[in-house]
């Protein structure tokens, strides 16, 4: 019983990280129609920036904000100076992002080396929390809480604000949204920056748990893609459900039969694609 409870928490905290990563990925895909190949690299660079800030003595939450702001700035530059130049040329955009992801990952390797860097967890979330006879690592609870807070904020922003309404309109039909006077190009920049910032914050949040190391970017990118394939593109609910599903399958799979955890992900992806090719909560384009 204790095993299942602890594993559930582990799975939930991993799902939280996956959600922060895939929500931005899914929104960018929904609006701009490109899978952002550099999303894993944003996660990696955000993780390094956050870990660096933490080791410099900056409080944890502030470090997360710094990493998020840093990645938003990187996202802004990339959107304005690379993606915009290739507007309407989707494959060119995908290839350019693939190239930039290689560049970012290599710059990280040059700056921080090949050894994993583990950030210290924040003082308010170190140690263990006792609930009855069960002991939970406080930091995992913190990740779950943080991702729920961000998730609720995102949902509020997308579902209840004017900006959110314009984003939804852009996802549904960007030509029509433009025709009714929405500045879709400004939306592109906003969503790309928000997505990059979320990836950067997720990287910082992951730094004490997974530590940051070369190769983490592609691993996380692959998982985020599976989440989006399962959950559906452009849907926040899809990201939530996809992240929880993949987080649980991955965590329990790793614990119960290490060798076949990935085969299990593969099977889930095939099943979803067979039944609903657009993903559980996606709409047909």
């Amino acid at each position: 019983m204790a095993f299942i409870t602890i594993m559930t928490l582990n799975a939930l905290s991993f799902s939280g990280l996956l959600f922060l990563l895939s929500a931005g990925f899914s929104l960018i895909f929904g609006l701009m129609r490109i899978p952002n190949m550099a999303h894993g690299a944003f996660f990696l660079l955000g993780g390094y920036i956050g870990a660096q800030a933490i080791s410099a003595g900056i409080p944890f939450v502030a470090s997360m904000v710094i990493a998020g702001a840093g990645m938003a700035a990187v996202g802004f530059v990339i959107e304005r100076f690379v993606l915009r130049r290739l507007f309407g040329h989707e494959l060119g955009q995908v290839l350019a992002m693939l190239g930039l992801s290689l560049v970012i990952a290599t710059v990280c390797l040059m700056l921080w080396g090949g050894m994993p860097i583990q950030a210290a967890s924040p003082s308010f979330a170190t140690g263990a929390v006792h609930v009855g006879a069960l002991v939970f690592p406080a930091y995992r609870l913190f990740i779950v809480a943080a991702s729920i807070v961000v998730g609720v904020l995102l949902w509020f922003a997308i579902d209840r604000t004017r900006l959110g309404a314009t984003i939804r309109a852009g996802v549904d039909d960007s030509a029509m949204a433009q025709a009714v006077g929405i500045r879709v190009s400004a939306l592109f920049t906003t969503v790309f920056c928000v997505g990059a910032a979320l990836a950067g914050m997720a990287g910082t949040l992951a730094a004490p748990l997974l530590s940051v190391y070369p190769g983490l970017d592609v691993q996380m990118l692959g998982l985020a893609m599976i989440v989006v394939v399962v959950g559906g593109v452009g849907s926040l609910l899809g990201s939530v459900v996809g992240s929880v599903a993949i987080g649980f399958i991955y965590t329990f799979g790793q614990a119960l039969f290490t060798e076949f955890a990935f085969a299990l992900l593969f099977i889930v992806m095939i099943l979803v694609l067979a039944v609903r090719p657009q993903g559980l909560f996606g709409r047909l384009a």
């Binding site: 899978p35 350019a96 693939l98 930039l100 560049v103 060798e259 085969a263 384009a285």
Partner: protein
């Protein structure tokens, strides 16, 4: 064009007799193997419009299947090769069946995710694949030719395979299947309305591309006698995509020129600088923004510009 091709082949065949350096021949063999692999990717990309980000899967899988057949199953090497060349195209069809469930740009995403799963499997299932250490000392015959540097054998073998590859891909492009594939690239709906089996056409091309990718993987195994999970990494698929993009999609010669350029650049850069992906990434961005149709087309356009200027008023 055809005459030029034969001339290049003859020149390439003369190389081992002129260049008496094993290092250069080894790099040459790498170029030729990469060219076969890039041409096979271009079957999907150029003719089929299917941007697969997981093409290294077939290359890596071929090396693994052959290596395991030789070490664990103790098959003789001709049998292991036949097994690989049959198995990999079948896997390619399965891969395509999954990836083609999604249309358009989502296809890119699924091919990448599938490629990652193969990488993860090769890393994790230590009992079967030996994990990160890979499989060393694969018992394949060494192809040494008396009186020539030791890499000359693999170089000639690869060159022969490349010639066969180019000829079959050319035939494929002109065959009814190849033209139908180009039709599904440009007008999938119309092709379906005309009664063509779009899915079937795409699956057959995956099998064909998988076959030549497998051949490239086998040649890699012949050259190194070693395979590890690195063959599956995204950087490998990205390098090959780069070759095709640099050379130019939808030309037969583009990927070969791209492969030679990329491997040359990679070998030169690696001598002075250990961070090759930085250069390849920047090249990606530069080619996509400045030369969207590749160097072959870029050179052709440049020549036209020069000719126009000369014959201008």
């Amino acid at each position: 064009m055809k005459r030029l091709g034969w001339m290049v082949l003859l020149l390439a065949m003369a190389m081992p007799f002129v260049v008496n350096s094993n290092f250069f021949l080894a790099v040459g063999a790498q170029m030729v193997i990469a060219a076969i692999f890039a041409v096979s990717l271009n079957v999907l990309l150029g003719y089929g419009g299917m941007f697969s980000f997981g093409h290294a899967t077939f290359y890596g899988l071929a090396a693994y299947i052959a290596a395991l057949a030789l070490t664990d199953l103790h098959l003789s090497w001709p049998l292991a090769i036949i097994l690989t060349l049959v198995a990999v195209p079948l896997v390619a069809v399965g891969f395509a069946l999954v990836a083609l469930r999604a249309s358009g740009i989502s296809f890119v995403m699924i091919t990448l995710a599938l490629g990652q799963l193969f990488w993860a499997f090769s890393m994790r299932s230590v009992d079967l694949t030996r994990g990160e250490n890979g499989i060393p000392n694969v018992p394949l015959p060494t192809l040494e030719i008396h009186g020539l540097p030791s890499s000359a054998g693999i170089y000639f073998l690869a060159l022969g395979c490349l010639a066969a590859c180019v000829l079959t891909v050319q035939r494929f492009g002109n065959s009814s299947l190849g033209t139908a594939l180009q039709g599904t690239r440009d007008q999938p709906r119309r092709m379906a309305a005309l009664g063509y089996n779009v899915k079937g056409i795409q699956l057959s091309s995956f099998a064909f591309a998988g076959f030549w990718a497998a051949a490239a993987g086998l040649l890699h195994l012949f050259q190194t006698h070693y395979v590890n999970p690195h063959v599956f990494v995204l950087e490998e698929s990205a390098d090959t995509l780069l070759m095709v993009i640099v050379g130019g999609v939808s030309t037969l010669t583009g990927p070969i020129v791209g492969a030679v350029l990329v491997i040359f650049l990679k070998s030169v850069v690696s001598m002075y600088f250990e961070y090759w992906p930085l250069i390849s990434g920047l090249t990606f961005v530069a080619v996509v923004t400045l030369l969207p149709d590749g160097v072959v087309d870029g050179a052709r356009r440049l020549r036209h510009v020069c000719l126009d200027r000369r014959s201008g008023p």
